[in-house]
């Protein structure tokens, strides 16, 4: 057995979800290698080679890999995967976009978003928005899995010394091209990696009112999240969405403000260590999962909470 991790990066640094994916692969008790596909990514290659837990780092470089087009990357992954028993990638928008395409090229049925490794061929994964957990077994010779990062700890980003091996690049498929990107910038921690997440819902009433949550988040070094209703209403950008079809988070502290607690929202945050709910409706379903609930008007409670935390 030998596992391959597809290293996700932004052209400059390795994304932290990759570190969690390596922990999942380590559960197989076999050597783990990494694959970096990039265009002139010296800092990515350097960073990836230092991650604890990777034996070899395969590196393939070319302009066709610059924007992570699945049409260009899937053929390379499919070719390299033949030398492995397992190929894992984080279940991020990058991994979800790429791995099924690899699977079809190899005639392998990938397993999406695994939350536990039971044995070399058996995995657990949430289905129905996390309302059930399936234990599934693959009969394919090569297992392709996307990995739910919040279900596995991160390996240290440093301390390793992987041997770098160059791999010839595959051709540009010529099917798609990159036009542009709108990255939401923020000085706060990344939503999926933050220790504290403050999320707002429709109850906030406007994008302006999210400033109140930002102050609270800044007081505790947290990130900002949102319900779909808040995103749909245009209060915040789409990448703030937590839930079944948004991001999966599991911080130490999750504060849900003006969020009712629909199952699709709970799917993205109910593995948080401690959940606080602030809602004026005492019967809101969010209180069924909250460790601490505070019933009342958020416009009064949130500033009060921020002030109390600033004092300490």
């Amino acid at each position: 057995m030998r596992a391959l991790i597809i290293v996700e990066h932004d052209g400059v640094a390795v994304k932290s979800a990759t570190l969690h994916t390596i922990t999942a692969a380590k559960k197989l008790n076999c050597p783990v290698d990494g694959l970096v596909m990039c265009n002139a990514g010296a800092s990515v290659i350097d960073g990836a080679s230092k991650i604890t837990g990777l034996e070899k780092l395969l590196v393939s470089e070319g302009a066709q890999y610059k924007d992570d087009l699945a049409e260009n990357e899937a053929p390379l992954v499919a070719q390299i995967a033949r030398n492995y028993t397992h190929v894992f990638v984080a279940a991020t928008s990058f991994g979800k976009n790429l791995l099924p395409r690899v699977g079809a090229l190899m005639d392998v049925a990938p397993i999406s978003e695994i939350s536990a490794v039971e044995s070399a061929d058996t995995f657990k994964r949430p289905i129905y928005a996390g309302n059930a957990i399936a234990t599934v077994q693959s009969s394919d010779a090569i297992k392709l899995c996307t990995v739910r990062a919040t279900s596995f700890d991160a390996v240290p980003a440093t301390g390793g010394n992987a041997a770098i091996e160059k791999v010839a690049a595959t051709a540009d498929a010529g099917l798609s091209s990159f036009v542009g990107r709108e990255v939401s910038k923020s000085d706060r921690p990344e939503l999926t990696a933050a220790k504290v997440v403050i999320s707002g819902g429709r109850g906030l009433g406007s994008g302006d009112n999210f400033k109140m949550l930002e102050q609270l988040a800044d007081t505790v070094g947290g990130a900002i999240g949102a319900s779909r209703a808040a995103v749909d209403a245009g209060f915040v950008p789409n990448d703030y969405q937590v839930g079944q079809t948004g991001k999966i988070v599991a911080p130490n502290l999750y504060v849900a403000v003006g969020i009712s607690g629909a199952i699709q929202h709970l799917a993205g945050m109910k593995d948080s260590k401690v959940i606080v709910a602030i809602n004026k409706d005492p019967d809101a379903p969010i209180f069924n999962v909250a460790d601490y609930g505070l019933v009342g008007d958020l416009f009064q409670i949130v500033p009060e909470l921020t002030a109390a935390l600033q004092k300490k």
């Binding site: 932004d10 899937a74 395409r101 397993i111 789409n238 109390a308």
Partner: protein, 249 residues
């Protein structure tokens, strides 16, 4: 320009899911079923392209049991012109679905296939990407905006860091995200009209497609449930609990 829209019959998104007592799966008997929400968005998008004069025909397709006909009627009430039904009893899995869709694409030769990004039962998020690979077409997953050009399409995608726009050569695969559009409610006259639109059968087995499951489900369990905690009377108590009991701040 012809558009194919695959739609899946799933448990309605509002239904509380119950795991079967024997842990073999989730309860589906006497449970309200409906169209996968992302597929409704896919049908809506295709129909809007037709209404704008950019598409000439919209074909809804499904793979599943006889009851799936309801779903196809719904798609045609929204505005699809006709439907194809590959009859299959049992669980469909992404690779088999993608292979069936490939066989249907070979027959119908559409210029675009618009799918949902994921079916909310299995939460697999795979079929569109697989179909792209099988056909050798470009793919734009998680679409929040679709703009047709000449021989190409620009698609804005919802990715982890924000938004990204790709240009794909046609024919191409698009999978929908929630913000692409808001699907309309079918009107009564359109529901009546849909009853007269044709549903054609498709025999996947005759085309050599194997739809039997590749991944075996050994068991299905309830998720570890969280118990409700306590309600605190005021902010001061909350801060005290977070500091001294939960120790998270």
């Amino acid at each position: 320009m012809k558009i194919l829209v695959p739609v899946k019959r799933v448990i309605d998104f509002n239904v509380k899911i119950r795991v079967k007592a024997d842990n073999s799966g989730v309860e589906t008997a006497n449970v309200k079923m409906g169209m996968n929400p992302f597929d409704e968005i896919a049908v809506e998008e295709a129909v809007r392209l037709k209404e704008k004069g950019k598409a000439t025909e919209v074909i809804a397709v499904t793979i599943g049991p006889a009851q799936c006909q309801d779903l196809l009627r719904t798609a045609m009430a929204i505005g699809a012109d006709r439907s194809i039904h590959a009859l299959f009893d049992g669980e469909t899995q992404p690779l088999g679905v993608a292979k069936t869709l490939k066989a249907i694409v070979d027959q119908e030769k559409p210029d675009m296939v618009i799918l949902g990004k994921q079916a909310i039962d299995g939460d697999n998020n795979q079929v569109g990407q697989m179909l792209g690979a099988l056909l050798g077409w470009g793919q734009a997953t998680f679409a929040s905006k679709v703009e047709l050009g000449a021989g190409s399409v620009n698609v804005t995608r919802e990715v982890d860091g924000g938004l990204e726009t790709l240009q794909l050569k046609l024919p191409a695969i698009i999978t929908t995200d929630l913000r692409l559009n808001e699907p309309r409610y079918a009107t009564l006259p359109n529901i009546m009209k849909a009853k007269k639109k044709p549903i054609e059968p498709f025999d996947a087995a005759a085309k050599g497609v194997d739809l039997s499951p590749r991944i075996k489900t050994l068991r299905v369990d309830e998720p570890g449930s969280r118990k409700a905690g306590i309600k605190v009377p005021d902010v001061a108590t909350l801060v005290d609990k977070l500091k001294n009991e939960a120790k998270v701040i």
